[in-house]
């Protein structure tokens, strides 16, 4: 039987651009380019590798986001995923992580899955909790923050490198996995891949398709409220000295003045 892999990806503002909040304190998407979150590329890569090892596998990439989020799906398709699902609905604007996990979980169930693969975090919100939320909502094991992952005989195994220990984990499928940026460099789409991606199916779903009420998501239905957002004041210009042979001593003098020594 075919191994059904769903990779959750996010369309994020380019972290190297100037990111701002809009008037309603959601992300301002107008003035910044968007792209597939870099950390999700690792998830797509691991999906492709797991599918390559399996006798028969199908990879669906899934995103929730505005029209432009299709760019993220196309990138994943051009890397080699088979098809895409795009959940798009005006009522989703301003949805927080709890709401997003609800939408993704419903879409994953509708798509059908044996294995869900996520990146370790998004590069914008950077909370890193979505995979655990999906596992909770889907009532399946979470095997998260893996720097190595493999699937064999209906079992997923992986290595989780934590702060205090490195753990070998194991769970039965279906399961939710997240992989870190240590899991292996993501491939670049080939020209052939890019051409092929144009013909791959992208299914669009809205809240009605997922049987989710508008008031369960969106800014009004959000479980958290942002009351204010202020740009961090630029750090005041510091002292810069050129090392003329005494740079280390001068630095020590500064640190002593600040009571660090």
């Amino acid at each position: 039987m075919s191994l059904r892999i769903v990779v959750c990806v996010k369309y994020v503002p380019d972290a190297t651009g100037d990111r701002h909040f809009a008037d309603d304190l959601t992300l301002d998407r107008d003035d910044v380019d968007g792209l597939l979150s870099e950390l999700d590329e690792y998830a797509v890569e691991q999906a492709l590798q797991i599918a390559g090892e399996a006798d028969d596998a199908e990879i669906t990439v899934l995103t929730v986001g505005p029209e432009d989020a299709k760019d993220a799906l196309r990138k994943a398709l051009s890397m080699g995923a088979d098809k895409a699902v795009h959940v798009e609905d005006d009522d989703l604007h301003g949805t927080d992580v709890i709401g997003t996990s609800l939408v993704l979980a419903k879409a994953i169930e509708k798509t059908g899955y044996d294995l869900v693969i996520c990146g370790m975090a998004s590069t914008d919100g950077a909370m890193g909790v979505l995979p655990a939320l999906l596992a909770e909502r889907l009532s399946v094991p979470q095997v998260t923050l893996l720097s190595e992952v493999s699937v064999e005989d209906g079992t997923v195994k992986g290595r989780r490198d934590g702060d205090s220990a490195s753990e070998q984990l194991q769970a039965s499928l279906p399961a939710v996995v997240s992989v870190t940026d240590q899991s292996g460099e993501a491939r670049y789409p080939s020209f052939k891949g890019i051409m092929a991606a144009k013909k791959k199916p992208v299914e669009s779903l809205d809240l009605e398709d997922l049987e989710i009420e508008a008031d369960e998501v969106g800014l009004a239905g959000s479980w958290t409220a942002v009351d204010s957002a202020a740009e961090r004041p630029a750090r005041t210009a510091g002292t810069i000295v050129k090392d003329e042979g005494e740079g280390g001593k001068q630095l020590a003098e500064f640190l002593a003045g600040q009571k660090f020594i």
């Binding site: 972290a15 890193g128 909790v129 702060d163 769970a171 409220a225 961090r232 090392d243 005494e246």
Partner: protein, 320 residues
């Protein structure tokens, strides 16, 4: 006064500093009730009482070590049901954030992660967070359910506030999901004897300019002279010069020490995201145009192989 649940991060009963910081913040909102799980849970009581815990709920079972995350969620939910707290606070470790998220869904609450400050407010606790590589500061609150909030290390100075700290056994019945993810083996990291990166008061980091794994010895020497933790930029980690657990930045650790010393690090957005909120920033770099110099309180344009050893010697001689 309302009670606030505080999830305790400890190693065999030794309470880690971020938990003491949580207790300090929890007292701004209500009376802290600590939840300590796993081996040595009861041994945490003295330190928790000294920092304001009125009660310490403890539970130990093999499941906490043998299975990932979910047994701890079950236990924290049992504590939540027993206490009906005004808020639940956890440290912003990878594991505690996952526990927090799952608890939030179960109790029908919103979640805020990686707060850097917390105050009482008319509509519940107000959390300060850094957004977009710390270029913004936001104030947020949980608007549905009981606030579940994780707080980053070094967000507040620990204050002692002796309280009863009465130990009570917590009864936990594990859910069907508890044994879903088995921990087949656990290899503890070798201790370097240096402070934990995210908790350290001083961090000394090396980047591309360090130019080789063997050269990190001079970064370590400076760190040791200052009692600091060692960090590394993504470039240094990707080159295999230093372990990923020490990476500072977007995909590594986010640190907020009193003093951050960047050596041979240009200061790309990826790195800045992880250290921009440090109190004092110092950099040593050959390139006077490096963006890191936009952040510094003090910068030395020069060769780190000359400047860093000289600084280390000077620190040692001043400390005598």
């Amino acid at each position: 006064m309302a009670e606030v649940l505080v999830y305790v991060d400890h190693v065999d009963g030794a309470v880690r500093k971020p938990t003491l910081e949580l207790l300090t913040l929890a007292r701004r909102i209500g009376e802290p009730v600590a939840v300590a799980l796993g081996n040595g849970a009861a041994d945490t009581a003295a330190a928790l009482a000294e920092h304001g815990a009125v009660k310490v709920l403890t539970a130990d079972a093999p499941e906490f070590a043998d299975y990932l995350v979910v047994p701890k969620v079950d236990a924290l939910q049992a504590a939540y049901d027993a206490v009906s707290p005004a808020a639940v606070l956890l440290p912003s470790s990878a594991e505690a954030k996952e526990i927090a998220a799952r608890l939030a869904v179960r109790i029908g609450s919103g979640i805020i992660t990686d707060a850097v400050d917390l105050e009482a407010g008319d509509e519940g606790p107000v959390a300060t967070q850094s957004a977009f590589a710390a270029s913004y500061t936001t104030k947020s609150r949980v608007s549905k359910g009981t606030p579940v909030i994780t707080v980053k290390p070094n967000s507040v100075a620990v204050e002692a506030a002796p309280a009863a700290g009465a130990v009570e056994a917590l009864t936990v019945s594990f859910s069907a999901q508890a044994t879903g993810t088995k921990v087949l083996s656990r290899t503890p990291r070798e201790s370097t004897g240096r402070p934990e990166l995210t908790e350290a008061a001083i961090v000394v980091s090396g980047g591309r300019g360090v130019n080789g794994a063997e050269n990190f010895a001079i970064i370590e020497s400076l760190a040791d002279s200052l009692g600091a933790a060692v960090g590394a930029s993504r470039a240094a980690v990707d080159a295999g010069w230093y372990p990923h657990t020490n990476q500072v930045g977007q995909t590594g650790k986010s640190v907020s020490p009193q003093l951050y010393i960047a050596s041979g690090i240009s200061g790309a957005i990826q790195h800045r995201a992880g250290m921009q909120t440090s109190k004092t920033i110092v950099a040593i770099n050959k390139d006077s145009e490096a963006p890191i110099f936009d952040l510094v309180d003090y910068g030395v344009v020069g060769d780190l192989f000359n400047v860093v050893p000289q600084l280390t010697d000077e620190v040692k001689s001043r400390k005598g």
